[in-house]
Chain length 173, copies 2
């Protein structure tokens, strides 16, 4: 993202490892929202260690306030580790299910060809709709959704983004 | 899931459409955790309508308390719609990134063959690790992770599950 004089708009990708306990999620989400931080997306799930969950947050807001939030997160006993991946070299992926209107078989065929080009997967075919599974970086997922919007999206759901640091000396795929 | 005399353990998949506003997420997560509900996974992201976000929650807890939580959710002005998909016919998917140890090229080859079988995608290759992108229903993702565990998982991150009702008369893929 281009350096902007209005730093308030900068997006951050933050991965937080937490103890897998009730209430931790609400507390962390609360820390951001109490300071007016927008959480654009959030994914939380278990990890290789059943006692640890990982949250990936996409947030936007003032940089100075983010520093304060980090300090407060570090004080929470259930927070194990915080990683801000915004500047680093990382892999990020998200997943979306999109149900598109298909009034006739010609349109259905078109959508299925589009899916092929974008390497999306057809996961359900209804009488008047096709549901696609789209996986990729945010820009790829957005591009596919934009393309489908022209046909009419009946329903759509997305996971939040997840992200992981690339290995040193790794090859990009 | 089998009917169980101990209903406290039943898992629910809940999709909640909410106004895309700061604080909504924390409030909803708080409603569950304040009543001792475990949130096993959570995904929140934008939808086809930029003013609306959708959350998919996997929760476990007492059925009676869940009824109370629904009532309270329905009272929240920012909650647009609540869908409990537990009993219905739905599509569910999740995504995981798994970084596996590859001490030598033989093991690396093995992992890449496994990825092929499970239709996972290699997204990064480091000197001593390979990172896979795995997409599917929870049981498929779990099976693949179990398989990889034997090789040593360096790092793993998952989105929460997302889910969508199947179209009437649809064909399962």
């Amino acid at each position: 993202m281009a350096e902007n004089s209005n730093k308030a708009l900068k997006s951050h990708i933050i991965v937080i490892a937490v103890e897998n306990k009730s209430g931790v999620l609400a507390r962390i989400a609360g820390l951001f929202s109490a300071r007016g931080y927008n959480i654009d997306s959030l994914s939380v799930s278990a990890t290789e260690d059943p006692l640890v969950s990982k949250m990936t947050l996409m947030v936007r807001g003032d940089e100075r306030i983010l520093e304060q939030i980090y300090k407060q997160l570090n004080k929470l006993i259930d927070v194990i580790k915080i990683l801000d991946l915004t500047e680093g070299d990382f892999i990020d992926r998200e997943l979306s299910l999109v149900k598109v209107k298909t009034p006739n078989s010609v349109i259905r065929q078109e959508i299925m060809q589009l899916a092929d080009v974008f390497r999306a997967k057809v996961v359900d075919i209804g009488k008047h709709s096709v549901t696609l599974e789209i996986v990729g970086g945010t820009s790829k997922v957005n591009a596919m959704i934009e393309m489908l919007r022209g046909y009419g999206i009946k329903e759509m759901i997305r996971t939040g983004k997840i992200a992981m640091v690339r290995d040193f000396n790794s090859k990009k795929q």
